[in-house]
Amino acid sequence: MHPDTATDSLRRDQGSWLLGAAALTLAPHVDTLPTWVAVLAFGLLGWRASLLWRGRMATSKWLVLMLALAAGIAVRFEFGHFFGKDPGVALLAILLGLKLLETRTMRDIHAAVLLCFFLQLAVFLENQSPLFALLALGACLLSIGSLLALTDPHASQRERLRTSALLLVQGLPFMLTLFVLFPRVQGPLWGLPADAHRAVTGLSDSMSPGSIAELSQSSEIAFRAAFEEAPPPPHLRYWRGPVLTHFDGSTWRASRHERAEHPYYTPAGPQLRYQLTLEAHNQHWLLAMDFAGGPVDGIRFGSDYQALSVQPVRTRSRFELNAYPETPVGVDESSRVLDSARRLPADGNPRSRQLVAELSADTPTPAILLERVIDYLRQSELRYTLRPPLMREDSVDTFLFVAQRGFCEHFSSAFVFLMRAAGVPARVVTGYQGGEINPVDGSLVVRQSDAHAWAEVWLDGRGWVRVDPTALAAPQRIESGLSAALPAGEALPLLMRPEMAWLRTLRHQWDAASNHWNQWVLGYNQARQLELLSELGLDTPHWQVLIGGMMLAVLVVMAALLAWAMHYRNPADALDKAWAAFSRKLAHVGLERHPAEGPLDYGARLARARPLDASALQEITSRYAALRYRPPAPVHEVLELKRRIRKLNLR
């Protein structure tokens, strides 16, 4: 068949493979492609499929050309340019559909399969989750299958799938070698520069009413923590973010703080070691558990007891950290810090000030006043809700006396306001509280919905003491998480609803899998590479050594595969081994096969010598005879024979 004279060389089964490969290739792109592009690309596939099923020829060249032109113009309008990842992928997706529509020759089909491979690669520019990797792998399997369908039209579908999978498996050692040894540059493997600075959900360094409530609607993962021993109980799981001292009447802001390589306290008490895997949030803070021990490379400690990374966390990063939850902090806090922790706007929230004046009428000590405020808050039946009403003016008054319901930021904000009004240094601490233990791998998963705000009060002789006013109204929030604390009927993020338990289990498993993926595949950076290589005895090798080693390893793998292929060129060799093993087994009872003895003669002799085993023995010899002398021997039957010989028990 001359490639150019073939009118429509695509047979139905070949076409099905190709269309399947194209559909699976395009599927992960649907997420990011403009809707019309996705619809168009899949529409073209459907068109081709209908042509194929009706046994029709490819569409006319002119129509395809017109469509291509129109699609090109539309892409230009959609993106404003042709350059860059997004318009490129969109164009390729459309071109894949058009290419399939005009497949006439072998060359067209090969081009379409190559396009598929390219698009499978392009998926990772956008998303590197294990699910997408699986989809791309499946598409790759089908693409190879469609090439096989072209070269070997007589093989069955199952054989094609098996051969395709075998080819992929054979590629595995190369992939692993290249993955492990290819010199890494700093930075994420797939990230394009623009990706690293995009807006991400997470805490900010200011807090106004409603900002954390908004965050709590997101079930995105903020970070994971894997403790070396059992995770601490929920009431210790305070993950420290920005500490907010400045209050302008509605918004709390972080004050300036100093940084040092050592913590501003002396870690004391029991130590908890854990590994923190932080999702990219483009900020410095690490959200370490109170209170982090140090020094640690690449980490600075703030004078407000935050742990901070030197560089903003722009990619998912791992940190080995210690926490000392019982450390006393700030016993000898500077008066400058304490002054700013007492400062309030001159006016606003008069009813709150009035309340404080009543509570501190007898000028109690700060500790007694603290107890009174706590008692007051506990008695005033404030409700915990995700949907607090708007509180613009005098937000603390509105919360305490009018609305009487709010989210953690309202509680902490009101509490700190009251303490300051009484002249006791206090501040708001934001961060995350709690987290969920993944039963699959035991790690603690902390989501954006675990975002929290609490307070710290400075007491003479005790330093900064953590007070969580939210716990006064909704103690379950601390012990059991957000979903337990909210009143019934309040809209929770879907996955947090208790009735979705099965879905949560599934999510746990998925989280654990993605965590491994993140740690070992996406997080395999220069540092990890060096770590791994040094474990292999190669200390900080030069990149040229690395490339040399990589090439050597690839050659070795190739030679090994080649040797394997030569050795197992056909199942006949496996058959020889099985037959020799059979003879060896029978040699134990003095019935070794004579070198010139044929299988049937041998079987007959064995049957005479061991009448009890006669049927099993002759079954083996006759199977062998048929497999050996009636080629080709199907692999599964050779395996079956091997199994029988292995299981043969002479009575």
């Binding site: 010139a596 044929g598 003669d601 009636r630």
Partner: protein, 305 residues
Amino acid sequence: MPQRPANRLLEAASQIILGKTHELQLALSCLIARGHLLIEDVPGVGKTTLAHALARLIGLHFQRIQFTSDLLPADIVGVSIFDRDTSHFRFHPGPVFAQLILADEVNRATPKTQSALLEAMEERQITADGSTMPLPEPFFVMATQNPSSQIGTFPLPESQLDRFLMRIQLGYPDRSAERALLMGKARREIIEHQPPVITPDDLLALQEEAQSLLIAERLIDYVQDLLAATRQAGEYLGGLSPRAGLGLLAAARAWALIEGRDHVLPEDIQRVFPHIAAHRLQRAGDGRHPGPAELARLLQSVPLR
């Protein structure tokens, strides 16, 4: 289930020739492999009966030629005689124009006469007076030969022996078979009342089928090893020829077909090998053909691959 033609034939033949199933299967393999058969034995063990029986069972046109020292080539192939009426020579076909020929005591005739038959066997056609006439199909020659020690014989030269695919010996029947033979009806009478069990067309189909049997490459290797073993050992004057190798494969295929298989096993080769090799090989020492035990040793010395 109706028996396959080859098995029907074998079974019917073993009802007539008692206690000789192995030899009968060899004879049938030879027939199916389109070879010719040489039977060497003392008189009276059933050589003639075998030929008769086969012809009858297949419904083949049968001719017997008794070879004597005064037999002439024309007595075999036929002769052209002048026809007065037409004033032309007319060819009168000889007994060789038959489907199954029993050449009895072939070594009693002169070499010239012998070679006339042997050439007909090889060419499967007769050339007389410038015109060529094909011999009928199927065409099968069974020649019997008295042991060469007998006087008044012209032993077949080695090159002629090669024309026979196989040489078998019938030998004396065993005691029980002989008793049944003695007590039963005369063989000739049984044969006359025996209807054919297959047709000549069936035989042609069997011959066709045998050629299509699978032989694994390893068995080709094995056959080459066997041929090489006859050539290298220095035990024989010359070894087996490539023609013998082809004959060995053809005979093994036919044997496998009778066994009911669509592929050849090493056993098939080993069964027919002694009968292919014996009359083609001459011992280096005394120039005699090797005996069965010697050939069995040769088979044992060549490992299967």
